[in-house]
């Protein structure tokens, strides 16, 4: 029999007299109580040991057998113990005390004390009922061997006192254990709640779902001291797990763990697992949190705690989802405002900028508001914002200001600004929203458009004037040619030739005039600019006069370009004439041709594609140009030469040619430092077309009938005269209808029609078509000062040609001859 504690005062164990036996029991009991009353620090004492000790102290001189019977709450016997006395007598005390079991049962139920035999003075046994916490707990029986002296009254009282004392110690211990267990449960709960609280804080501080997931598993593992905790959210898109001893959770799945599934939000225990649903109102986002603990089973408090933790996680997830929505909306608005092409400034009502977008940074040269730094408001703008703020306060609506020539970081800009007061929720101080737009470029663009429109108008006027002019020039040229052949006086012939050359210049001028108003039909051919310049060197020298030295710097390897040959010559000539005019006291003109590679940056400035170009440079040592002149020198009708000397068309034509050819023209100049024009033409790899002189024999003239339709009387008469002189039979009408009538009436063959395109009634083309139907084989030569060769469309192919006005008589005759020659 194990003894857990030895009674410090060992009682005398002899069978002393009644008083001695009872006193011995009392003395030993006092020692027993002193040992067992308070549970000192250390492992919990066991009830068995307590009962063993009690039995031992009773058997030590007070009883030969001690019988302890305990029952549970339902009255069933849970313990029956026999303790033999010191004499070593064993066996069944029931043999000594018949019916003892019945007595014990009775006493357990009644809680009283009985002696045996019930009557008489020779009590051989005392059975005391034990009541603990007001219920039957068991009974202690003290039994004497037959040879021992029976119990007297004093012994029975001592036995009762000891048994009741035992019951009270048991009760005290029971209460102590219960309160300790309650305390422990409370502390465990407190620890879990403590960690739950920490977990809630951690989870609510998470940035996104992944953070929530990792914070939740870390907390869950700690709260339950689990071996492993896993979370699986949003159909597995967010998952994390953590094991014991891991400082941080790992994102992702653990396929190797057989995590039970979960339904609903209630937490439940399944084997080693505690699982609980986690999720937001969105069922698609639902997931589960699971923890596994092998060392100890989960208790009902754990289920409660898990439910709380899952709720905290769900709340955090929902708030993350909400926050993300807000962030997304905020980011979208921020992106819109930041990308707005207009400067947007958020200012306090006194006009101090608080925040601004990127356009405002650009327009006002401010630093980024995120990086900090001072936004210096130009004084003019500050004044305008003040006024606008005042207006906005009064009117409520947006107010506007146009600011011209505001100095922004050293540059003069035109600004348009408007402001509105914005009352933001939860901000007592209203915000001034200021919009600022830099309209400098916009204004310049508008000015340029207006200029271009003006140019176009002028061009249209010029073009219509040119049309009439052409007719006049054709007349002058024609008659002077006739006159030249009609007179013999050398002096007069010379004068007539002067008339012709003047008319010829006038003709060139009208051609240029026409080219301003509409696109000129260019006839680009492949040519070598160097060769063209060389071929025209003599002409240039004559144009420049004796005081200007011409210097040609030609790189023969520069290559070929594709350009209208006539216009190209004209451009060189025009540039040379300008240079000559800039050098009234003589100087040096350098014309250079070279190949250059235009890099991307320069190409962008010139407005061309990067690549190889042939550069034609015309540089003089003249008076040079100021900024203003340089800006406008390529404009049509812009001239510095005064009303009588320049047309203002030369450089405009040059630019038109260069641009139409895929190139560009640039000017560098400074007053007193001369002027350099640079014309870029894209290099071409095409072969140069060598124009050979025609070897075809000149066809015989005359022997044909020509019908002339021309509404200009003078010109018609000239044409009739020229054709007649060259041996043709000529019929003539002033309108298309008249010509048709003549043709109808004329019985002989009509070989050729020469007709103006514009005739008032039916057009020259219609006339030609009509006649070609009634008289197959009829040739048609259409002339016009405004139309081009496209008027020939619909006419008999190979039997029609176009002659632009103005034309020389010889050109008319050549054209007629050419057409008639095809007949053969």
């Amino acid at each position: 029999m194990a003894r857990r504690a030895t009674p410090p005062q060992s009682a005398v164990s002899e069978h002393a007299g009644g008083g001695g036996r009872a006193d011995g029991l009392r003395a030993r009991y006092v020692g027993f109580r002193g040992t067992h009353r308070y549970a000192g620090p250390g492992p919990r004492s066991e009830q068995d040991a307590l009962l063993d000790d009690f039995a031992a102290l009773a058997a030590d001189g007070f009883a030969d057998w001690v019988v302890v019977d305990l029952v549970d709450g339902a009255g069933a016997t849970v313990r029956a113990r026999l303790v033999s006395g010191p004499g070593g007598v064993g066996g069944d005390p029931g043999g000594v005390v018949p019916g003892l079991a019945g007595v014990v049962d009775r006493v357990i139920t009644s809680g009283t004390t009985e002696t045996w035999p019930a009557v008489g003075r020779d009590a051989r046994a005392v059975v005391v009922g034990l009541r603990v916490k007001d219920r039957a707990f068991g009974a202690v029986g003290f039994v004497l061997a037959p040879e021992s002296r029976p119990y007297d009254r004093g012994d029975v009282v001592a036995a009762e006192e000891a048994a009741w004392g035992l019951a009270s110690i048991i009760e005290r211990r029971m209460l102590h254990d219960e309160s300790r267990q309650a305390l422990r449960a409370t502390q465990r709960m407190a620890r879990q709640l403590h960690q739950l609280f920490a977990a809630t804080l951690n989870v609510s501080g998470a940035r996104d779902e992944s953070d929530v997931a990792t914070a939740v598993v870390q907390s869950a593992r700690r709260v339950f001291d689990a071996d492993v905790a896993v979370i699986d959210l949003d159909a597995g898109r967010v998952a994390a797990w953590v094991g014991r001893g891991m400082a941080r959770a790992t994102r992702g799945h653990r396929d190797d763990l057989a995590v039970p599934s979960v339904s609903g939000e209630r937490a439940r225990v399944e084997g080693e697992w505690l699982v609980v649903g986690v999720g937001t109102v969105d069922p698609a986002n639902r997931g589960l949190l699971a923890v596994r603990r092998r060392a100890a089973a989960f208790a009902s408090e754990d289920v409660e705690i898990a439910t709380l933790l899952a709720q905290a996680a769900s709340a955090a997830l929902e708030s993350r989802a909400l926050a993300r929505g807000v962030e997304r909306s905020e980011a979208r608005l921020r992106a819109l405002v930041d990308a707005a092409p207009i400067g947007i400034v958020e200012a306090s009502t006194d006009g101090t900028p608080r925040w601004w977008n990127r356009a405002a940074e650009r327009v006002l040269g401010w630093p980024s508001p995120e990086r900090g730094g001072v936004a210096s408001v130009p004084p003019a703008l500050a004044r305008a914002i003040d006024e606008l703020a005042a207006e906005a306060r009064v009117g409520g609506g947006p107010a506007l200001r146009d600011l011209v020539d505001v100095e922004v970081r050293g540059r003069v800009r035109d600004l348009t600004t408007s402001a509105a007061l914005v009352a933001l929720p939860e901000e007592s101080d209203p915000t001034l929203m200021v919009l600022i737009d830099d309209v400098t470029d916009h204004r310049q663009l508008k000015a340029e458009v207006a200029h271009a429109q003006q140019m176009e108008l002028r061009g249209q006027v010029a073009s219509s004037v040119a049309h009439d002019f052409n007719n006049l020039i054709t007349l002058i040229t024609g008659y002077s040619e006739i006159l030249e052949h009609s007179i013999d006086d050398e002096r007069l012939v010379e004068m007539v030739r002067d008339i012709q050359s003047t008319a010829s210049r006038a003709s060139r001028l009208t051609a240029q005039l026409q080219s301003i108003g509409r696109s000129v039909e260019l006839d680009p051919v492949v040519l070598v600019p160097g060769d063209v310049v060389r071929a025209n060197a003599e002409v240039l020298e004559r144009v420049l006069g004796g005081d200007v030295v011409l210097e040609l710097v030609i790189d023969d390897g520069a290559g070929a370009v594709r350009v209208d040959a006539g216009q190209f010559e004209q451009m060189i000539l025009n540039l040379a004439i300008n240079a000559r005019d800039a050098m009234p006291d003589g100087g040096r003109l350098r014309v250079g041709v070279e190949r250059v590679d235009v890099p991307a940056a320069r190409a962008a400035r010139l407005g061309v594609e990067p690549g190889p170009y042939v550069l034609v440079t015309v540089a003089d040592t003249g008076t040079g140009m100021d900024e203003e002149t340089m800006t406008h020198c390529f404009d049509a009708f812009f001239t510095t030469k005064g009303p009588l000397r320049g047309t203002g068309l030369g450089l405009a034509s040059a630019r038109r040619l260069a641009e139409a050819s895929g190139g560009a023209i640039a000017v560098h100049s400074a007053l007193g430092a001369g002027t350099t024009f640079e014309a870029f033409f894209p290099l071409t790899r095409e072969a140069v077309v060598v124009e050979l002189a025609s070897t075809a024999p000149t066809p015989a003239r005359g022997f044909a009938t020509v019908l002339v339709a021309e509404d200009d009387d003078g010109l018609r008469r000239l044409m009739v005269q020229v054709l007649s002189r060259n041996g043709y039979e000529v019929l003539a009408g002033a309108t298309g209808e008249e010509a048709l009538g003549i043709a109808d009436r004329y019985e002989g063959p009509i070989d050729l029609l020469v007709s103006d395109v514009a005739l008032g009634g039916i057009t020259g083309a219609e006339l030609a078509r009509s006649l070609q139907q009634s008289r197959p084989g009829l040739r048609a030569l259409l002339t016009s000062g405004t139309a081009d060769a496209s008027v020939l469309e619909g006419l008999a192919a190979g039997a029609s040609a176009f002659l632009p006005k103005p034309f020389r008589p010889s050109a008319l005759i050549d054209g007629v001859h050419d057409l008639l020659a095809r007949r053969n």
């Binding site: 308070y38 620090p41 001893g245 092998r294």
Partner: protein, 266 residues
């Protein structure tokens, strides 16, 4: 460690034991030697082995130290001790919790991060946490000073747990950044006679106080040692002569009984 089978446990067994929650911490009380007041606990690791019962680290420390479980176990130890400390603190008790840091954990670096994590998760008062390292660990670490400083910045106490009161040693440790020294148990073990021990620790308390260092006497085995140390003003101590280590809920009981029998010498 010559070979892996030199230890009785395989690393896998250790891992299985750790990961299934068989490791636990027990706490040895530290008392005020004058008043017997309860002033702290030292957390000690145990393994409740399913077949072999409760094991002290002697049985598995070699295997643990040579495995990659060192860091997880150390992290778990810190975490659990801080959690428990926070619970006691919340229950109204304010005493220090000492945690041992192994040479491996210290050498691996990141000890301050581990401590910060454990404190953050438990919300334990950093000034109640004492980290104990050995002298040799500090001496072999060229970054010891910086590490001790970063721990001090967290508010955590830094202890040397095998302090021998040699000439100038106290000053060297104070200079390095240590603020608690625990007199090594072997030092007491060799000095049973009161005269010998008294001479060895004479003036130690005064010097330590001047340097702002707390002194704990470890391994107190009997009342004589305790009496001598108390006489020499060594404020606190621990040892089997005072109290064996208990599990956390037994410590609760000690605290409870202590509050019932206040003034009762322990």
């Amino acid at each position: 460690m010559p070979v892996s089978d030199a230890g009785p446990f395989s690393e896998a067994a250790l891992r299985e034991g750790f990961e299934s929650g068989q490791f636990l911490l027990v706490y040895q009380p530290i008392y005020d030697l004058q008043t017997s007041a309860f002033v702290g606990v030292e957390a000690l690791i145990r393994w409740r082995h399913p077949e072999r019962g409760l094991l002290t680290p002697d049985a598995f420390i070699d295997v643990l130290d040579s495995s990659d479980l060192v860091r997880p176990v150390a992290q778990w130890t810190l975490e659990t001790a801080c959690d428990q400390g926070a619970v006691w603190h919340d229950a109204g008790y304010r005493f220090r919790v000492s945690v041992n840091v192994s040479a491996r954990q210290w050498g691996a670096g990141g000890i301050d991060d581990d401590v910060r994590d454990a404190l953050g998760a438990s919300r334990f008062d950093p000034t109640l946490l004492v980290l104990e390292v050995s002298r040799s660990t500090l001496e072999s670490d060229p970054h010891a000073r910086a590490r001790l400083r970063s721990l001090a910045e967290l508010g955590v106490h830094r202890a040397v747990d095998d302090f021998i009161p040699d000439e100038g040693e106290l000053e060297r440790l104070a200079d390095l950044g240590v603020d608690v020294v625990k007199i090594d148990r072997t030092f007491l073990a060799g000095r049973t006679g009161s005269g010998e021990l008294g001479a060895a620790v004479a003036t130690l308390a005064a010097r330590a106080e001047a340097l702002g260092i707390s002194v704990i006497a470890a391994g107190i085995e009997d009342a004589d040692q305790r009496e001598v140390l108390a006489r020499e003003s060594i404020a606190t101590g621990q040892g089997f002569g005072l109290s064996e280590p208990y599990e956390a809920d037994e410590i609760d009981r000690v605290l409870e009984d202590f509050s019932i029998f206040s003034g009762k010498p322990l």
